[in-house]
């Protein structure tokens, strides 16, 4: 005898296989929905040029992973909120991601903008995969934080290391250095590292000043630097400032043994095109260049697909700066989830700490603080930039890698500017 409230033994036996399939279809009981990756990006505001490129790259990875069947048999979704380049917004946005959207994995590519959200992330014991953040975990020392820009364990020193290591090998050896940068966290960190290296290598600092982020005209700054006749000029600047400093330097015919350092903006197509030959001689940091020493598996194809996907959107047309590490950060999470077959943050963090990952940005291994175990901030020199054709930047030799030795592809030409 059966009724709606009392199923028969036959009905239970028929339902049993379906119930079993439900239990084993996902990573846990009833877990058949999509896996949600969530985070914040600066899609508007001063860092929008970084955030929008990162979003496009993450979308590229998302399409790839879903074409391959998703992760753990489940479709992957991406939930990104705009933090408007305003760090005060990130705690609220991460609260929404965790409490309302209930995302499984946290990602972020927005420099140190996610710092105010870290206490929340730590409280919830969530794994955080960041990018382009400098020294963010120095204070938190959180064991589930990982960061994809190749700063290494001593990030603040690493950004400037290559510049000064190259300078130290020059003959005759430079004696003096001028330090200039925007009055902001990134530039201040870069200058702090520069001071450490200058002291370590015995360079005398003859100018050490910051400028406000809304500085319009840099001719007064550059003239003041020129007046002290430094051998080296290290600058930590953002995109618009980098353009202003370089133009002002060209206008007053600034000369130095080396000029450059941590100037953001020179890594992307817009500024390379606009400044063109004026940048020849600049020695500046990069994360990736299409030099023979950096042909990692999949990188060329990924960049080609990024360019095709973002054509006409007003984003970085080259794709050398943000896309490789952004795609790689998603690959790390993908490989970790696939290998451990779980979304549990503890298990994933432990796996990521002990594994070397094969990514489009090369082999990646993390140290205890979540940074790359082996730093890889390239120091490069523009040598053969001519005209505004973007294709020249795909050619080896236009911009050569000077440091580290492992990736070196050319020798420095001094003084700055080349031929000046």
């Amino acid at each position: 005898m059966t009724s709606a409230s009392h199923p028969s033994r036959r009905q239970v036996m028929l339902a049993l296989p379906a119930a079993t399939a439900m239990v084993y279809s996902g990573s846990g009981f009833g877990q058949t929905g999509p896996i949600k990756f969530g985070g914040t990006l600066p899609l508007t505001g001063g860092n929008a040029s970084i955030g929008k490129v990162a979003q496009a790259t993450m979308q590229l990875w998302l399409d790839d992973v879903n074409k391959r069947g998703g992760l753990l048999g489940r479709k992957v979704e991406l939930m990104i909120y705009d933090d408007q380049t305003n760090p005060t917004l990130t705690p609220g946005l991460f609260t929404k991601l965790l409490d309302i959207d209930k995302v499984d994995m946290l990602v972020g590519t927005g420099t140190n903008l996610i710092a105010p959200a870290m206490p929340l992330v730590i409280e919830r014991k969530k794994l955080m995969m960041g990018n382009l953040a400098l020294g963010l975990n120095d204070q938190f020392k959180y064991d589930k934080y990982f960061q994809m820009m190749a700063y290494g364990p001593n990030g603040k020193d690493e950004l400037a290391r290559g510049f000064f290591e190259v300078a130290a090998k020059l003959t005759p050896r430079p004696q003096t250095v001028a330090l200039v940068g925007a009055d902001s966290e990134f530039a201040n960190n870069a200058l702090e590292g520069a001071r450490n290296h200058a002291k370590r290598l015995g360079f005398r600092v003859v100018y050490d000043k910051s400028y406000p982020p809304n500085q319009v005209d840099f001719s007064s700054v550059v003239r003041a630097i020129a007046a002290v006749k430094p051998d080296l000029i290290f600058a930590g600047s953002y995109v618009a400032d980098s353009s202003g400093l370089i133009r002002a330097a060209a206008e007053i015919k600034l000369k130095a043994t080396m000029f450059g350092g941590a100037m953001v903006g020179l890594q992307v197509a817009a500024l390379k095109q606009q400044l063109s030959g004026v940048i020849n001689g600049l020695v500046n940091y990069e994360l990736y260049l299409p030099e023979p020493s950096m042909q990692f598996p999949g990188i060329k194809e990924m960049i080609a697909r990024y360019r095709a996907a973002t054509a006409g959107q007003g984003l970085d047309a080259l794709g050398f700066y943000v896309p490789p590490t952004t795609y790689a950060q998603m690959q790390v999470l993908e490989q970790a989830i696939t290998a451990t077959k779980t979304l549990k943050d503890d298990v994933l963090a432990e796996y990521i700490h002990k594994t070397t990952f094969k990514t489009v940005a090369g082999d990646v291994k993390f140290e205890a603080g979540g940074e790359w175990a082996e730093p890889r901030i390239l120091m490069t020199q523009f040598q053969k930039v001519n005209g505004k054709e973007l294709g020249q930047f795909d050619q080896p030799g236009t911009q050569v890698i000077l440091y580290p030795e492992k990736f070196k592809s050319g020798n420095i030409i001094t003084p700055y500017p080349i031929g000046g």
Binding site: A48, D183, S219, S220
Partner: protein, 313 residues
């Protein structure tokens, strides 16, 4: 000056060194003064619209910097597609910006002024307009830096030890001309006098048969039209990206208030004063002190003369 000193070959070394130092300082001073004046002219170009809308019409148009960015991006768009010079572009688009300004004022009037609402609510309206413009620019143009191609942007005129980049000189002239034209218009024409009268005595204006709302609408349109000129000046100086406008909010209002509300000559004078202060501070003290010195001048001036340098007491 330096070659002359090198010619004094027989003077003792310390004297030569001292002369070299003085010579360097004088070179820096001359260049800082000239750069400051050039910069001031540019500040006048981007501030004159606020002097009209805020100084004369009592409308705190916070979105004015966003209109400047819109002008810059229009200059970029037309320059990159048709190769027109930004100086020509700004003359072509200024009337369109004027019409845009008139439309914005009509909305503002309907929502706030006609209902005698608290003017601070209008501030929220213009903040919203600022953010909407910001996002629209990102949607249409992307977030990357955009610049213009001109034959003169890399040219520097050298007069002895002083070098003047054309990318600063031209915006200086734009600023001076805009301020001069506005000054003549507002003081020598009936409509200009009506603009000056509209915030002081709108009823009196009505009794003279002039519609104060229409006057304010056209004046507001003029203020937004100047944003087109300021935007073209800005993109000649440096490449732009959509969020750059927010950096100018404090500056443009500081120039307006320092110069004296509604005074065109005060706007130019204040802009040049701030430009020179910033340039001298950048050169001899350190660039990070520039905002403190500039706003210190503003505070001191207001403490001494609350109506501003050339405002009516």
């Amino acid at each position: 000056m330096v070659p002359l000193i090198h010619g004094l070959g027989r003077a003792p070394h310390f004297v030569l060194n001292r002369l070299m130092e003085i010579s360097t300082i004088l070179d820096l001073l001359a260049n800082a003064l000239v750069a400051g004046v050039m910069l001031g002219g540019f500040y006048a170009a981007v501030s004159v619209g606020i002097s009209i809308s805020f100084g004369m019409l009592d409308i705190a148009n916070i979105s004015h910097p966003a209109m400047i960015m819109l002008g810059s991006f229009m200059a970029y768009l037309i320059n990159s597609h048709w190769g027109l010079d930004p100086l020509l572009i700004m003359l072509l688009i200024a009337p369109l910006f004027g019409l845009l300004g008139m439309g914005i004022y009509r909305v503002y009037f309907q929502l706030f002024e006609s209902r005698e609402k608290d003017p601070r609510r209008g501030l929220a309206f213009f903040f919203g307009l600022l953010f909407v413009t910001d996002v629209l620019l990102i949607l249409f143009f992307g977030a990357d830096l955009r610049g213009v191609e001109t034959s003169y942007v890399d040219t520097v005129l050298n007069f002895g030890v002083v070098g003047i980049p054309l990318r600063l000189l031209i915006p200086f002239f734009i600023g001076v001309l805009v301020v001069l034209c506005m000054h003549l218009f507002l003081t020598r024409t009936f409509f200009g006098l009506a603009v000056a009268a509209v915030s002081q005595e709108p009823l009196g204006l009505r009794l003279m048969g002039v519609d104060p709302v229409r006057v304010k609408q056209i004046a507001f349109g003029l203020s937004v039209a100047t944003a087109a000129l300021g935007g073209a000046a800005l993109i000649i100086i440096q490449p732009v990206e959509p969020a750059l406008g927010r950096e100018y909010i404090g500056r443009v209002f500081a120039v307006c208030v320092l110069g004296g509300m509604g005074s065109m000559s005060g706007t130019l004078f204040a802009a040049i004063l701030l430009g020179v202060a910033e340039s001298l501070t950048s050169t001899f003290v350190g660039p990070s002190w520039s905002p403190a010195v500039a706003f210190g001048i503003l505070l001191f001036t207001l403490a001494w003369r609350p109506s501003g340098l050339m405002g009516r007491t």
